[in-house]
Amino acid sequence: MSIISKETVQYVAHLSRIELKEKELEVLSVQLEAILDFIDQLKEIDIANIPPTSHILPVNNVLREDSPKPSLPTEKVLANSPEKEGNSFVVPKVIE
């Protein structure tokens, strides 16, 4: 049975902000199907009463003093931008 349809892959690709070519979509659907089928073996384990581990260390909310410090100079921040103007990043129009 198909776990993941082409439409689902297309939808998730859009959520991921990745444009796929038709050929890529086809190959990916087949590959993801096989990968998810393999991952489905996790369903055979009894996970009742097992707490999830999202992080291996028992550290929570590491805080530092909220003291002002110098930040990177604007030129350095902008240096890697594909498009910039003055002190700003340039992006396509956001508001219609």
């Binding site: 993941i4 689902t8 892959v9 998730v12 690709a13 859009h14 959520l15 991921s16 902000r17 990745i18 444009e19 796929l20 070519k21 890529e24 990916l28 590959q31 993801l32 096989a34 990968i35 998810l36 393999f38 991952i39 073996q41 996790l42 369903k43 384990i45 996970i47 097992i50 707490p51 999830p52 581990t53 999202s54 992080h55 291996i56 260390l57 550290v59 590491v62 530092r64 990177l72 350095k76 921040v77 240096a79 890697n80 931008s81 594909p82 498009e83 990043f89 992006v91 396509p92 129009k93 956001v94």
Partner: protein, 480 residues
């Protein structure tokens, strides 16, 4: 022997005895890289080779003038750091990663050439690099392993004195094994991740790839420790790891998990590992079978957790602050993101981001992501149980020696399974080391993996060094 063939500790001694100079080391290494790297392709952007011989700064640190090769996903101030991905083309970080700062403080010379890797560390063969694959110095038709394949091949080919890699599911240890070098994945939190371009933040660790265990210990002394810039780095004292390099394993209890000696393990690798076990026994260690019952679930758990975290971490590549932007005319911001990311990411990156997004999406979160986190707990508990009684665990690093270039590129699942023995370590956050322990009939290196409890790096160095000093494997070099 020319400088490039020596270990860092030998070079340090030679400089101290005035048998060589920092300048001679730099020249020797540069010459070696220019001669052999066109074959091995361990480095990317070879045009930066000129600057490989930059003299060391003013420092009296332990690594004064020793060149260190850095994986392309660790930020170096003003030096290209592109994760071997088109989407980060041209990126020059405005700061140094903490490990780079520590290396510089210790006097090391950071090579401006970076080492090749699978794009964003997604892979086990270094074939997913936008610069093309690295080749295994022992057989140029074979992969060097991955994702730190460039760092491992550089050390194996004597094109690096010391190298730094990163390990999320085996990316230091598996290539170390394939290239016949030493590679360590430290305990999660031992080394700062600040400036490591994130793949899976709960699994990533930076670590050394070196010619022997002493060099690995020296590098660990330099790069370990708490960093206020990484809230997951642990504020625990850093021991002098070179003090753990004793030649004694008498009475140590070493567990050998039976789940690692099953179908899929190459019979030649199995025999070589069994010989290594016998060697350690003859040196006085006690080797006994142990159980890690959830081992077979490590790969599926990993490919949910690692891809989920990656899908979130890689959302930052939006063509605004750095990297590649589509040349196509776009109508709006969303279209710019989609086109840029469609063009900029390679196949494996797209596959993992989409799989991770799927696992986290509404309706699938409990079935995939949450379930994987729970099984992760069980995998960790398996290790906790064994380490109550045993000092360390011994396994093969990889089920096979290096495979052929192109052999697994069309089957992602087959590629994922080549990390079957290394992945559990990252899920449990424990340290592990891979070191050379023999060769197959085709003269390809095989790696021995040792695992210890959290912050048990000293135990790993003790056992690894004892084995190494009682064998000759680390002295055998490829013919290039």
């Amino acid at each position: 022997m020319p400088e490039f063939q020596l270990t860092a500790h030998e070079l340090i001694e030679q400089v101290n005895n005035k048998n060589t100079t920092v300048q001679k080391i730099a020249e020797s290494l540069k010459k070696r890289i220019l001669e052999t790297d066109p074959k091995v392709k361990a480095y990317v952007r070879l045009e930066h080779a000129q600057s490989a011989s930059k003299p060391a700064g003013e420092s009296s640190g332990i690594l004064k003038g020793i060149p260190v090769s850095i994986k392309d996903n660790i930020c170096t101030d003003g030096i290209n750091t592109e994760c071997c991905s088109k989407i980060l083309s041209g990126f020059k970080p405005p700061y140094d990663a903490t490990v780079i700062k520590k290396l510089k403080d210790a006097g090391a010379t950071i090579l401006e050439l970076k080492t090749n890797m699978d794009e964003f560390a997604f892979g086990s063969s270094t074939e997913n690099s936008c610069f093309g694959p690295t080749r295994n110095p022992w057989n140029l038709e074979c992969v060097p392993g991955g994702s730190s394949g460039g760092s491992a091949a550089a050390v194996g080919a004597d094109e690096a004195i010391l190298a730094i890699g990163s390990d999320t599911g085996g990316s230091i240890r598996q290539p170390a094994s394939f290239c016949g070098v030493v590679g360590m994945k430290p305990t999660y939190g031992r080394v700062s991740r600040y400036g490591l371009i994130a793949f899976a933040s709960s699994l990533d660790q930076i670590g050394p790839l070196t010619k022997d265990t002493r060099d690995a210990a020296i590098l660990m002394n330099v790069i370990s420790g708490h960093d206020p810039m990484d809230s997951t780095s642990v504020d625990a004292p850093v021991p002098d790891y070179t003090k753990a390099l004793t030649k004694d394993v008498k009475g140590l209890k070493i567990g050998v998990p039976k789940e690692y000696f099953v179908e899929g393990l190459d019979p030649q690798v199995k025999t070589i590992i069994e010989e290594a076990i016998n060697k350690l026994k003859s040196l006085g260690a006690e080797c006994k079978p142990v159980q890690l019952p959830h081992t077979k679930y490590a790969v599926p758990v990993y490919y949910i957790i690692a891809t989920a975290e990656a899908s979130s971490n890689l959302a930052r590549f939006d063509a605004v602050q750095y990297g590649y932007r589509t040349a196509e005319r776009v109508k709006n911001l969303i279209e710019m993101y989609c086109k840029t990311r469609g063009e900029g990411f390679g196949d494996e990156a797209k596959r993992r981001i989409i799989l991770g997004t799927f696992a986290l999406s509404h309706g699938y979160y409990d079935a995939y992501y949450l379930r994987a986190l729970k099984v992760r707990t069980m995998i960790k508990q398996d290790f906790d149980q064994v380490f109550k009684e045993f000092d360390c665990i011994l396994t093969p690093t990889s089920p096979t020696a290096a495979f052929k270039i192109g052999e697994k590129t069309n089957d992602p699942l087959k590629m994922y399974l080549s990390d079957i023995y290394t992945i559990s370590v990252n899920l449990a956050g424990i340290p592990a080391i891979s070191l050379p322990c023999g060769f197959t009939k085709n003269s390809l290196p095989v790696g021995l993996q040792l695992l210890a409890k959290p912050f048990g790096e000293e135990m790993l160095f003790r056992v690894a060094h004892t084995y190494e000093q009682n064998t000759e494997w680390h002295k055998i070099k490829p013919k290039l």
